[in-house]
Each structure stands twice: as C-alpha cells, then as structure tokens.
C-alpha cells in the first residue's frame, strides 16, 4: 500500500508525520518526494548513496549541419530556443526535453544530450527502514521528472510512505496519482483550513481516500473537525501544540523515539489507514 502524506502547503508538519510514521512501523519504505526541500533525512540522519542522476534531454545543435531555417525555435513552446540571423541560441534551463525540436529539424542537425537536473539517493541498506529521496538541483524548475524517477523505485510488495511536495500543482498530483491513501496534515486555523481544502480538492481529483492528522492541536478552533465530521473524513491522529515536540523537531529528533506512547499511536493510525484503504479497494 502506498500512503501519501500531503498538505496544502509546507510547514504544517508533513515531514514530521511521514518520518515518525515510518519509524513507528519500521519495516517500510519511505520516499521523500519533496524534491525541492527534501528534509526527511535531517531527522533520520542516514548515510546516503547516490543511486541515479535524473536527466532531461536537451538539444545540441550542430552548426555545420544547421540550415538556420528557424523551425526548431518557432516550434519550441517553452522558449528554450531562439533564432538569431546567424545562430540558434539555446536556453537549457527552460527546456522540457520534449524532443520536438529534433523532430521538426529538416536537416537532422539536432542531437539530444542528457543534462542533469537532480539526483536520487538511497540509504545504505543496514536499516529495516528503506529510505529514498530525490533532490532537485537548486535553480531547476521541473520537479516532476525527479518525482517520477523516484517513484520508479517503489517496491510494490511492501508498504510505502511518501512525503509529498507542498502545494497543489503538478508535483503533488504526480504523487497522489499513484497513492492508495492520502493523509492530509493540517492545523485548525484559518490558514490551515484554507490550505487543507485546497489539498483535499487535489486528492479528490484522483479519488484517493483521505484521512486527517491535526497538528498543533489545541491551537485555533474546531473548524477542521467540524468540516471532517460533516464530510465523513476520519481524524487519524492529533499531535498537540506542545513545546516539547517543537523542540524535538528543531533538533531534528523524531519524537516517536523520545516520547513514550507515540510509536503505538502511529501504529494505530496506520491500522486505520489500512482498514479504510481496503474498504476503498473493495477488499473486506
């Protein structure tokens, strides 16, 4: 089963939930798909080894063969090529690697060369927790290819926990599209509720069953709870607004390791997720 941990935006405790859940369960895979800010390992402290470079194919134009017809530049939807009177300029960072320019070049003057945009890393295997993460190079705009590359490493025969990217755009959809269950982490405040609704909308596109983790519970009001009750969305877990937890977080220490009882709570939460996901898949 693949469980995505998502939230309308960053800073709501997504990574905390993903890491603590993974540590409570032990025999699972954890994927850090927040490739712009992969923070899980700050709490795990694994030695990571590079597994795979994520690349994007970008055009390389052979000036000898190029007839300067400009077809490639006028085809490119992403302005990654510009035709000058005596030269075709390319802007690799804008290129999506669609291959269109080489397809339309009548002179066969375009070769495609891989350009690195990110990296997939994995923990060395002496832990019962298998951890993978993707890292997007700073300054790169396209997170989705890195996420897709990361997802190819999911071992379907085991449970996988996926720390999703924040927001509601393509990168999250790439994660939700493959998930069997989505945990939405939120706070019961006006901001939290608003962002939660956005995330819920994204999850509903794929009809993934959803459950809620209320973070910093005790702060704010009951708006998220009331909404969940009305919509029949289960509240899986409440993490109190506790300075101790905030402090462990700031130190990069997963609190299931330090505070008794929490491991059990996360395990119970996972059982609830399983029950609900099975119901959704038609298994009783």
């Amino acid at each position: 089963m693949k469980v995505a941990i998502a939230s309308g935006k960053g800073g709501t405790g997504k990574t905390t939930v993903a890491v603590n859940l993974a540590l409570a369960l032990e025999e699972v895979q954890l994927f850090d798909c927040d490739v712009e800010e992969p923070n899980c390992n700050l709490f795990l402290g694994f030695e990571l080894e590079p597994l795979e470079a994520v690349t994007c194919l970008v055009p390389e134009i052979d000036p000898e063969r190029c007839a300067l017809c400009g077809n490639c530049a006028s085809f490119c939807k992403f302005n990654a090529l510009a035709a000058l009177p005596n030269k075709i300029l390319s802007f690799p960072s804008l290129c999506h690697g669609c291959g269109g320019c080489s397809f339309v070049c009548p002179a066969g003057a375009i070769d495609e060369k891989p350009r690195s945009i990110g990296l997939i890393e994995k923990n060395s295997s002496d832990s019962s927790l298998t951890f993978f993460r993707g890292v997007l190079n700073v300054g790169e705009a396209m997170a989705t290819p890195v996420i897709r590359a990361l997802q190819r490493h999911i071992d379907e025969s085991r449970h996988a926990i996926i720390d999703s990217p924040p927001g509601t755009a393509c990168p999250v959809l790439a994660v939700l599209g493959c998930a069997d269950y989505c945990v939405l982490v939120t706070e019961s405040t006006p901001f939290g509720f608003h962002d939660f609704l956005l995330a819920l909308e994204a999850a509903r596109i794929f009809q993934v069953p959803v459950g809620v983790v209320l973070n910093r519970d005790g702060l704010g009001d009951s708006r998220v709870e009331e909404f969940c009750r009305a919509e029949g969305i289960p509240i899986l877990l409440r993490i109190p607004n506790d300075r101790m937890i905030a402090r462990f977080y700031s130190e990069g220490v997963p609190f299931v390791k330090e505070m008794s009882g929490w491991k059990e709570k996360f395990k119970v939460m996972f059982e609830m997720i399983r029950a609900q996901a099975c119901k959704n898949m038609g298994v009783s």
Partner: protein, 310 residues
C-alpha cells in the same frame, strides 16, 4: 518604485504573518501575494476584488476521435506519458509541447489554450493588493506569479504607491525565482530547526544567483537557541545582515483567528507579550525601510544585529 520580497526556504515560517504586519505598518504599499499555490493573505486582509485577469498556462492537447485511426504514433512520441491507451489525453500529464500535433499523420491532435489561474487586483483596508486564484493541479505558478507582480505594479502606478511588498512562495523552485527577480531586497525568514538552516542556505544561494541583496530574520528563535546561534553564525559568515529575532508566541495564531494582523491585534490586546512582539516587528520594519530608501551603501549594509556570545 521599490520592491521587497519576503521568502523562506519553506512554508509555515510565518511569512504571511510578517507580510501582513508590514502592510499594516507601511501605509503606502501595494501587496503582492505571490504564494499562488495557497494564498493566505486574503484570509486576513479580506480584499474587495476590483478585477481579474486570466493567466493562460500550458496548452493542452486534445484528440479528435473522428480523425484518429489509432496508429499510436502520438503515444510513442509523447515523452510525458500524457497519451492514454485509448488515445485520449491526460490533462495532468500533458505539458502542451505540441510534439504529438506534428507527429500525428492524420492531423487529429490540436492544442487548446487553458486557463491555469487568475491574477486578481483588489483593495484592502491597508491599500491595494494583487493575488491569485490557481486552478488545482495547474503548474504555471511561475507565470502566474509574474502576472500577479505585473498587477501589483499597475496598482502601484495607479495609486502612487512607492513600495511593493511581495509575500513569496515557499521553496526554491520556479515560482520563487519569479517572485524575487528584479526586486530591490529580499528578506529571508528562517527558523532555528535543523531544516531551517538548510532551507536558509538554499534561499541565500538563490538570492546570490540573482544578485539581489538579502537580509535575514529568525522566527521563533527561542525554540532552540543553540540552532539560532548556528543560523547567526552562518549569516555572519555569508555576510547576510540578520535584522531581527522574533520569539515563539501564540499571538500570531490569536491574531490570525481574529482575522487581524499582529499589529492590529496588539493595539487592543492587553498582553505584554503582544506589545513586545510588535515592537520587534516595528524595529525590523524601520530597518528594512531604511535599506529600501536609498542605494545600499557599505556601512549601512554591514550594520547587523550584534551577535550574542554563547
């Protein structure tokens, strides 16, 4: 016109709280909520909408089933896996690159524009504001950020505002780049957590890349003073002026629950904590205003918080 962008390596650092506070202090600024994925400023500032403008995102391919012979060429050439087995298009995968349109022998595929979101001009109790509505699953966020900033400059012209306050998106991706290019100063908000320093470094790398002067501020510094000192040390080494340290407080949430900025909240709250908190923000704002008011000179830029001894 001067532009200040407030960013942080990630969300939840208190960016919006701070931007809202600045807006209630500045008096003559246009706000640009560039956190287009999850715009929260409108929740506090309750804007009255003046007009909206569609932002055209990536185009989307569509297959004319009358013409399609099912030869499968489009599926072969599409590198984004957007052509499904029945030769229809998955809108969430299609990047609108148009390769399928030129590859299809039957000319059965065409591209259609799609609206990815809207940029909104509005008016709030603190002055004009530009923000966005983004369609779920749309990713033209960089483009939409640019459009929101364009709206903000138009509003600045229209209302003779001298300053644009940009509430930046989280992360270091394309939307953030769109939010900070061409600004005069970037304020990076950081938190004393293991990820906080890490995120700050990434954000600073980005501002350095665009050669924009950056200043920093630590939020909830007292959650972990040791980590705060690490952040201070980093700022000192990197030559980033650290302008303020904000304490951990529930005031920010209380203000948010009241749909007020912290400045408004402190004005009627009897809590000493609120007054103290707001005083730090006032000082921070005065400092930023000074930095924005003239060309940055060496002496002024090196004026940072005295570093405490540990």
């Amino acid at each position: 016109m001067r532009q200040l962008a407030i960013i942080s390596g990630k969300g939840g650092c208190g960016k919006t709280t701070l931007t809202a506070a600045f807006s209630s202090l500045s008096g003559n600024a246009v706000l640009a909520d560039c956190d287009v994925d999850a715009p929260d400023l409108p929740l506090i500032l309750k804007p009255r909408v003046l007009d909206t403008e569609d932002c055209l995102g990536l185009e989307l391919a569509s297959v004319d089933s009358e013409l399609c012979t099912g030869c499968g060429i489009c599926r072969e050439v599409c590198r984004f896996g957007a052509v499904l087995e029945n030769f229809t298009i998955n809108p969430y995968s299609c990047e609108g690159c148009a390769v399928c349109t030129v590859a299809c022998p039957e000319k059965a595929v065409c591209l259609t524009p799609r609206v990815s979101g809207q940029a909104v001009s509005s008016i709030t109790r603190f002055g004009p504001m530009a923000h966005a509505n983004l369609g779920t699953g749309e990713e033209a966020s960089g483009k939409l950020v640019t459009l929101v900033r364009k709206k903000a400059s138009e509003l600045a012209d229209q209302y003779s505002c001298k300053l644009v306050l940009i509430d930046g998106p989280p992360g270091t991706g394309c939307p953030v780049m769109a939010a900070i290019t061409g600004t005069d100063l970037v304020l990076v908000l950081s938190e004393p957590t293991v990820s906080g320093l890490h995120d700050l470094k990434r954000a600073i790398k980005l501002t350095a890349h665009f050669r924009i002067p950056a200043v920093a501020c630590i939020n909830r510094y007292d959650i972990n003073e040791k980590k705060s000192l690490e952040i201070e040390a980093f700022c000192r080494e990197a030559g980033i002026p650290l302008l303020a340290r904000l304490p951990y407080t529930d005031i920010t949430t209380e203000a948010m629950m009241n749909e007020e900025t912290v400045i408004e909240y402190a004005a009627h709250s009897r809590k000493a904590e609120a007054v103290e908190f707001v005083n730090i923000i006032r000082k921070l704002w005065a400092d930023i205003k000074m930095r924005l008011s003239g060309p940055c000179d060496e002496e002024m830029c090196s004026k940072t918080l005295p570093i405490r001894e540990s």
